[in-house]
Point group: C2
Chain length 252, copies 2
Amino acid sequence: MARNSTADRAIDVLLLFESVGPVLGAPEVSERLRMSRSTTYRYLQSLRSYDLLEEAEDGRGFRLGPRVLRLAKAVRQGLGVPEVALPIMRELMLETDETVLLTRRSGANVVCVERVSSQHPIRLSYERGHIVPVHAGASAKVLLAYADPSEVDELLKNPLPRLTKHSVTEPAKLRRQLEQIRREGFAVSHGEADANVTGIAAPIRDGADRVVAALSIAGVDFRIVDEAIPRLTACVVRAAQQISDRLADGHE
Amino acid sequence: MARNSTADRAIDVLLLFESVGPVLGAPEVSERLRMSRSTTYRYLQSLRSYDLLEEAEDGRGFRLGPRVLRLAKAVRQGLGVPEVALPIMRELMLETDETVLLTRRSGANVVCVERVSSQHPIRLSYERGHIVPVHAGASAKVLLAYADPSEVDELLKNPLPRLTKHSVTEPAKLRRQLEQIRREGFAVSHGEADANVTGIAAPIRDGADRVVAALSIAGVDFRIVDEAIPRLTACVVRAAQQISDRLADGHE
DNA sequence: CGCATTGTCCCATTTTATGAGACTGCGGGG
DNA sequence: CCCCGCAGTCTCATAAAATGGGACAATGCG
């Protein structure tokens, strides 16, 4: 792929603050990216002049700046899904009394794009930007089930990390589950991504029938008991279908 | 300032999606940044390969990608303030029954970094990333009041946009207000940033006594009546002081 | 069916990034 | 109190990269 290595390094610097740690000193950045000090400082200055980075109070090191928050707000305006989905997500939350999540894929991870928290005193409260590996949890598996097969192959080449004792780490087993999800149109996870959390997810499709996001509910496992799952699943699937329908209406 | 123009342009491309519009086609980017098509595409590819941008469904144009959300989540971990502030903000929300905001400055704007929404049916619901010009509204004026005087001079050189009929646009008047805020230790705004919204804000200081953020409550003006303001102000000031105290404890 | 627009690729040219090193200022330790 | 080491800034010759013109394919629209 044709790329732009200087631009790439600038992004590398920025993303270092997400992957490595929230506060990084210039020397550390310099070392990790194998760049000379002069070079590192120039990158940091550039990012700082845009408020994407800011200096920490004591002058030691940098951290992500307020501009990133502004950018993040703009994400939602670009993505058509959340606007359409939010009212339906709120209904689903009231119907099920559980936290409702809208997720999308980002490489080997799944990101929470929108959420409506349950009002229950005991509730899960994921936030926008929360990520989870693509093989664990109901949302993740739904998104993987409808992903491009070649991408799935690519992802399954690397060993799958075990997040909890219920995480599926065997590629063959995961593939069987994905097939089942495609057949049934939803996924259920018992503590795969987070211990003691049960999730139920269904795909959201755009006007061209491509799966663009997943809708899910998540709750502590002693609240989402087995007997309740059929009803909850039906709710999630129906809500996801409603969102899909509106996307099809709006974009055609 | 020593900068890195290639990196800068990469950031320009990215930020274009915040400032100009949520979905931009390559030709438009090319035109706005005065770059050739080849160059533009290379930048877009770079950003896309990091998931900071993604292609819109129909293949026409790009929009901000999910990676931005992940980044935004990391902002809060870097910034020490929100963790400390959140529990106190929740208390303040319950005490006042109004939406509570934590804001910081970003250049000529003020950004909402954290918020706790009121549970009232009629409530304001700003979100993280919401921005407002630095001269309008209670939070903004608090942050400006304690900003570096030279920066204030710089900002007041440009004409101040009028957001509502109550916005302060006269530099001299604004300066008097800032002085008053420094004397009293809080700010009140009646519909300056948004019509029919009243806000009350107080500064948050770090261990070295620098103002690093503002705490505020905001509500529709028929709820925050004049008689209630003294009580609410006291609550806000006290909460801000509590946060400041904890910052001083933790970071020293 | 063709014209206009978008997206990709290649390559000589020019621009720019790069890192070594010199210099400063600060803070901690001897 | 002074010295040493580290963080940050600046300059400059060199090396490397970005750049944009243009050729080409694919797509879509009239």
